[in-house]
Subunit: 255 residues, 2 copies
């Protein structure tokens, strides 16, 4: 699996909370290989709290003395930077690089490198990178929290991997014949309850069709709507007039 071959590298992280948040983001997106380069006395309680159910990513992390060591086995090394400059002009977005990362990760190892919380990646760090990632942001405030930057990159890779299957609507879209039966029933009901008179019916039904045709209408939706119509007709015949009659006048269609 390509995702297993993608290593997230944090250079000199300062805050345990950020390292924990990175672990959680990685686990959400199916990554598990985290390397810390020269971490600075991290608060591991914070790290564990923010890692939440991704403690295994935290526990299994590697620690390296240098970035060169952390990426030594990686064919492709992508560095994330918010700054621009002479040697950062060929940066591309995480979405543009995601397929490249996955393609290389099919057979080899890929590193995605994130810099210090206070300072990002230096030119020396970037020299080790084969690609530069720039995350789209406003110009006014381009500095992302490091765990947020990791999330955006991991998310783009996960989406590009095609691993995600969205929830599936169990009920099919209603076929035209069923929809027409429903509209017929509603027509009868709106006449039964006195919402419209016969001469206004066609006009009013176009309004109702417009309202109910804006999105998908599933078989289940149509069944609910048919049930309401039938019950309203039944109630109009069976509920004593005094109980429901008072507000009738103002509800009647004036179209």
């Amino acid at each position: 699996m390509s995702l297993d071959n993608i290593r997230i590298v944090m250079v000199q992280p300062l805050y345990g909370g950020n390292v924990g948040s990175v672990c959680r983001a990685m686990a959400n997106m199916g990554l598990s290989d985290l390397a810390l380069v020269n971490p600075q006395r991290l608060n591991m309680d914070d790290a564990r709290m923010m890692a939440c159910h991704a403690a295994s990513v935290l526990d299994d992390r590697s620690e390296c003395a240098s970035l060169a060591e952390a990426v030594a086995e990686c064919g492709v090394v992508m560095g994330a930077t918010a700054r621009t400059g002479l040697y950062r002009q060929h940066a591309k977005t995480p979405r543009e690089w995601a397929h490249k990362a996955l393609e290389v990760a099919e057979a080899g190892r890929v590193a995605i490198v994130f810099g210090r919380e206070d300072n990002g990646l230096t030119n020396e760090d970037l020299a080790l990178c084969t690609q530069i990632i720039q995350i789209p942001t406003t110009e006014e405030f381009s500095s992302l929290n490091v765990a947020q930057a990791v999330m955006v990159c991991c998310y783009e890779i996960f989406v590009a991997s095609g691993s995600y299957e969205g929830p599936e609507e169990k009920s099919e879209e209603a076929p035209s014949g069923l929809r027409e039966r429903m509209f017929g029933l509603w027509r009868d009901t709106l006449l039964d309850i006195g919402f419209m008179k016969d001469d206004k019916a066609e006009h009013m039904m176009l309004g109702l069709r417009r309202i109910l045709s804006r999105g998908t209408l599933t078989v289940d939706d149509v069944k609910i709507l048919m049930g309401i119509a039938r019950q309203a007709s039944w109630a109009a015949r069976n509920v004593p007039v005094g109980d429901a009659g008072e507000v009738k006048a103002e509800n009647v269609c004036q179209a």
Copy 2:
């Protein structure tokens, strides 16, 4: 500007750090309208620390007693949920909904709603939503930190808005004529320094062309490569043989 019409709503946030991280993520992605529904004694020091340079989003937040109040002016109300179930089957990804949010935000107001840290949005909350967002994740660990969830949604909306312009390579791609002059120069140099003999030259040059044709080669890149070739030829003529001659044998092309 559409982004100004998009409100981020956090229902009963528990942790100031998360609220601050949300502020920063919003500011990174050009959003500024944050509403908190019934916040629970937040640690505002944590909030301010994590908001970083986005303190204005934090300071300008609204606080509401109910979700209904927070979204009352919003035509489209999108709720983010990780859970699936009968009334969540029609969820779509943030990428699928981003254009819809921007389209509506051109003329009206849009809310994107995020649930409690411990429990997400209830069915009662979702009843107020016109759309449901599900962020792609692995099935094994689908619960995102709330600030990470906000980041992914804001990021997708910002990218869809087309506001981002990537860094631009200032140097143009080198035209074929310039590239050919460079390869000619390298051919001469590789002969001058004795890296290849005349009879292997065509073969070797194909290898060099292959190496240098894998990506874009800009005018600046070609100038650097031509400079190296010229200097190597110069050095081969001017540096005394004894200084550079010892390692010569093993460098010579054996192709």
